[in-house]
Amino acid sequence: MSVAATRDATAGTVARIEDVGLSYGKTRALDGITLEIPSGCMVGLIGPDGVGKSSLLSLIAGARAMQQGRIEVLGGDIADARHRRLTSPRIAFMPQGLGKNLYPTLSVFENADFFGGLFGQGAQERKARIAALLKSTGLGPFADRPAGKLSGGMKQKLGLCCALIHDPDLLILDEPTTGVDPLSRRQFWELIDKIRDERTGMSVLVSTAYMEEAARFDWLVAMDAGRVLATGTPAELLERTGTSNLDAAFVALLPEEKRRGHTELTIPPRKTGADEQIAIEADHLTMRFGDFTAVSDVSFRIPRGEIFGFLGSNGCGKTTTMKMLTGLLPASEGTARLFGKVVDPNDMAVRRRIGYMSQAFSLYGELSVRQNLELHARLFQMPADAISERVAYMAERFDLTDVMDAMPDALPLGIRQRLSLAVAMVHSPEILILDEPTSGVDPVARDGFWEILADLSRKDNVTIFVSTHFMNEAELCDRISLMHAGKVLVSDTPANIVKFRSAQTLEQAFVEYLEEAIGETSPAAEAGPSQPVTPVAEAAKAEARARRFFDFGRMFAYTRRETLELQRDPIRATLALIGSLVLMFVIGYGINLDVENLSFAVLDRDDTTISRDYTLQIAGSRYFTEKAPITDYEDMDRRMRNGELSLAIEIPPGFGRDVARGRDAQVSAWIDGAMPTRAETVRGYVQGMHATWLSQKARQRYGDVAAAGDYQLEIRYRYNPDVQSLIAIVPAVMPILLLMIPSMLTVLSIVREKELGSIINFYVTPVTRLEFLLGKQIPYIVLAALNVILLTAFAIFVFRVPFTGSFLVFGTAALLYVVVTTSMGLVISTFINSQIAAIFGTALITLVPAVQYSGMIDPVSSLRGFGAVIGNILPTTYFITISRGSFSKALDFADLGAAFLPLLIAVPVLFGLGVALLKKQAT
């Protein structure tokens, strides 16, 4: 490499690692690593998935807390928080996974803009930097496209833009090219070379699973099982192992027991004859989804027993083509034939001839190995008596006998992959479709896997259709197709493709085809100088910014991003905007304590003026509605059972006569007791009306004598003279809703980042905890304030709850209160890690104490013991007092001032807790 050659590799050390160890629970991820990583060059960590590359990189980046040992980065201990804060503007970290630290709903520009903001850059500066970076990466035309809709290669370029926006001295890239097509991969590395040319002295630390990429790095660290196998330049490693390529060198470096049984993989040539049967045939297949053409005019023929490779980037139409071949998707145009028969999507018989193994090794993690095999055998309708024999055979052939009762998740990747293949083969299909079957598997296991494939093809004459990113796998196929943007670029044997383009390697040939298809040379090469280079002044400015404990720019970067994300998530936005309104509507109408229009009917066996007078007394009240008279007991029983009548009254024969003569008489009433609360109310009403009727009659009969000892009990229902439920409920429910939903949304906003992985941006940038929390909280305070207005308007205009107090007092208190409730969310978020737990946990944590102890039902003054303590601490208690006071009691600041104080105290207390509990590193 020309760039490397000009550089002095012995200039110094960018990171010094001493005896570093790391464990996740019982798993030992890193074990006694000691390394000195040279500065100013490109250093590669190589090895398959799960050997500890990512763990080591995140430790160096300061994203993960140290457990054991010591790492010095850029001249200071990375475990020291002060050193991390000061050096973070000099380090950039791009984590593993396509677009893992990007925000899929944000556009390319918005993503880069956010990262610029995290380093406190001003709007002008950000704009200039982003324009330059997008130009040099060729992303300029896509500035408005959401990051989630970019191809894998473009996502990684955007990730690089975001990492480079602050001119780092140390660039850490964790598997930046995994899952990216070869052209994008090449462009990516060209981009890195160009940047290194411009920023001489920048150190780059990269991990990769592609050995052919590693060949271009300056210095390599080969890792396995949490340990370093070897270090040195690629040439040194090849020389030491006496091998010709790094793949072989890596295998040679592995400890003896891992290498056992591994031999150089060779696949015998396929016997071809003239009478070849065509197994798979695609004839001008086209698939459109709306305006988008996913697959365009694809044709190929695959003879029986061939291993046919399908190469292309993520999203180029490979999976769609596979779906059309299996009949999962009906083609928009063209036909697919299997064994000469047109594929009919509804023909289940076709599917029985196909075995399919998807990218994700889609096994049921909750079923054991045996259960997985048996389930698939049954679903393919194998005869019941043949199943156990077949499962035993498959276990033996794929070497799974020892793990038959284990759960797949507990098995190493290599075994899971064999199991996946066994599952796909359990019904002896004639065609096997494999979608990137070996990603992430170590080279030894991968060779073993291809041996099985070769065996199936050559011995059992199974046609194998396999998609892959690995060029060395593509070289093993009998023929390959290169696919890009829905089109097949070429189909031939690997050797012919290389020969035809007169290229040296298959990768180079593929890249040339891709470039031809896109109609341009690599865009990275044409761009001019990308950045205004004033390194010294810039670095000083950046460091000054990093020293600041609070920077509005960094805080607003989070605020802006949170707002944009919320706008683009329909479900969360709905909940935030009208969630509380929906719930208030439901509670206001659903939990109504007014009991009206109760149905009742009378069985009047007397039928005199007096008995009818008694009935009228009840029928005339607004609480009861009279239904058709009851004819007999059977009628009464039926009508009460089906819930038609809440109250039945029986007046006995001779009632009128007895009352007139002052003799003992008896009225019977039956109440539907199914709903006890309602029944209690009915009982109260009936007793009251009975008493009123009696005293009326008594007065008629005895005159004023009855008045002796008479008194009045005057009940004044204050603040709500008509005793309407809504007036009582609404002012008490508002504080509960303004507690639950804003705090839940705040918790979610932080826990989401933890779960999706973008929290890493907080770990590795100079953003302080206070900036992070406040920045995320602001949009939710604004939303909650909006909710206050909505809820108040709804209460006044729809529920017609009179507002008697001062809007100013209520509004101020409400604003203060939502600051408190969102801060409660910040505190809760520090100990919750999954979104689903955040939703239900927050509902539980906020709702239960608020409903029981805040004075919503029982006044805090009547609570005892523990409940009284909670009731006096809860901010909701005080806001309920203010809400009731303002709505119903016509109180002003003079009367409610005392309730403001606890709310004012709660804000700094909760904030302090949130900042103290939030961690600035993963643990």
Binding site: R378, D710, I715
Partner: protein
């Protein structure tokens, strides 16, 4: 649709559920502890209700009234002056304030019909509403007893014999557990099926299923029957063991008829679970949707408060929800012992709603799989 496939896939769902401790605990909790505690923890409407008394009479009868209020229904009355009364109520310290005027006893015995004033803080929800009646009857009782020694019989001897049918003691401990069973059935049906679908999607196994000789209908029906069966069995066990056994709540009607109705309800709500899962796509979004869907469904269905006290348009709107019909039939069968001759309209309605939900969610499910 092949029944063998539906059966196999359903068994797979059951095995998956067996290995999900969180969902198992949720099922167990909803059908045992939650129901048990609902019966015991339902608070009395009056619990240490705060009462203050302004005694301007200081007579034997006023002290009689003061001593008539005691815990646990009421707190020990605070004796206050009239001036304090307003500010204490404004601050929300007292729910009730009773004002006994000067010379109350003298006027009472003289037949001058004096007035006692009871101030109620009517912003205090249920306590104010039902408590007012209690205070009234306590005061009346004390005065009547006192006065009866002074005067002869002047009232009419007409008795009102009140009986509560189906729950003679109006024991809330009977109502709440069954309401909770109804609530748990709906919630779990939606959560379990929704989670089963989202789990497959998140693990990428749904695509895998599709290349096998199984149809979307088979996949959906397998989830419906397996999760429905779990909830059905759990609710039957809960009714027999927890409700009838431990809590000894009598169940009037036929358990078999109720379970038949439950099966129909499960048909509708499991389809709803599938539908919501296809809309949400991920577990957190599903959780948020649940908040917006589950609560209205349950609160407005009549399970907690009577339907007839809700506004007309809500009553009509809620006829489209399966819960409304299920609550009606469950209350009729379990509390009032109704038979099929009484509840057949609800069975019919549930079948119709279930069929519509099934059709809609199957269409949605097919699109989701694309």
């Amino acid at each position: 649709m092949r029944l063998a496939n539906v059966f196999q896939l359903g068994v797979k769902e059951l095995r998956g559920l067996m290995r999900d401790p969180v969902l198992l605990i949720l099922i167990l909790y909803s059908f045992s502890l939650s129901i048990y505690s609902a019966s015991n923890a339902t608070p009395d409407t009056l619990n240490h209700a705060a009462i203050a008394i302004v005694d301007e009479d200081e007579s034997p009868i006023s002290s009689r009234i003061i001593t008539a209020f005691y815990p646990p229904y009421f707190s020990v009355p605070k004796l206050i002056t009239q001036a304090e009364m307003d500010s204490r109520m404004d601050a929300g310290l007292d729910t009730f304030a009773l004002d006994i005027p000067p010379n109350f006893q003298r006027d009472l015995l003289a037949g001058k019909s004096p007035t006692i004033q009871l101030n109620v803080d009517a912003t205090r929800m249920s306590q104010a509403f039902s408590g007012g009646g209690y205070v009234q009857s306590i005061v009346s009782g004390e005065i009547d007893e006192y006065i009866n020694r002074y005067r002869g019989e002047t009232s009419l001897p007409v008795d009102l014999v009140l009986r509560a049918r189906f729950n003679p003691q109006l024991d809330k401990g009977w109502f709440m557990p069954i309401s909770n069973v109804i609530t748990a059935i709906t919630m779990l049906a939606i959560v379990l099926t929704g989670a089963a679908l989202i789990r497959e999607r998140e693990h990428g196994t749904i695509e895998h299923l599709l290349v096998m000789p199984v149809t979307p209908t088979e996949i959906m029906v397998s989830k419906i029957w397996s999760m429905g069966a779990v909830v059905l069995v759990a609710s039957a066990l809960s009714l027999v063991i927890v409700v009838q056994g431990i809590l000894s709540v009598p169940i009037e009607g036929s358990l078999a008829l109720f379970l038949a109705g439950t099966a129909l309800q499960l048909f509708a709500t499991t389809c709803m679970g599938i539908f919501l899962a296809t809309v949400a796509g991920s577990m957190p979004q599903f959780g948020l949707l649940l908040m917006l869907v589950l609560l209205p469904l349950q609160v407005l269905s009549g399970a907690l408060t009577p339907r007839e006290s809700m506004p007309e348009f809500i009553q009509t709107l809620m006829l489209a929800a399966p819960n409304t019909h299920f609550v009606i039939l469950a209350q009729a069968i379990l509390f009032r012992g109704a038979g099929l001759s009484v509840v057949w309209p609800q069975f019919l309605a549930l079948t119709a709603i279930g069929a519509v939900f099934f059709y809609v969610s199957l269409r949605r499910f097919r699109q989701f799989l694309r």
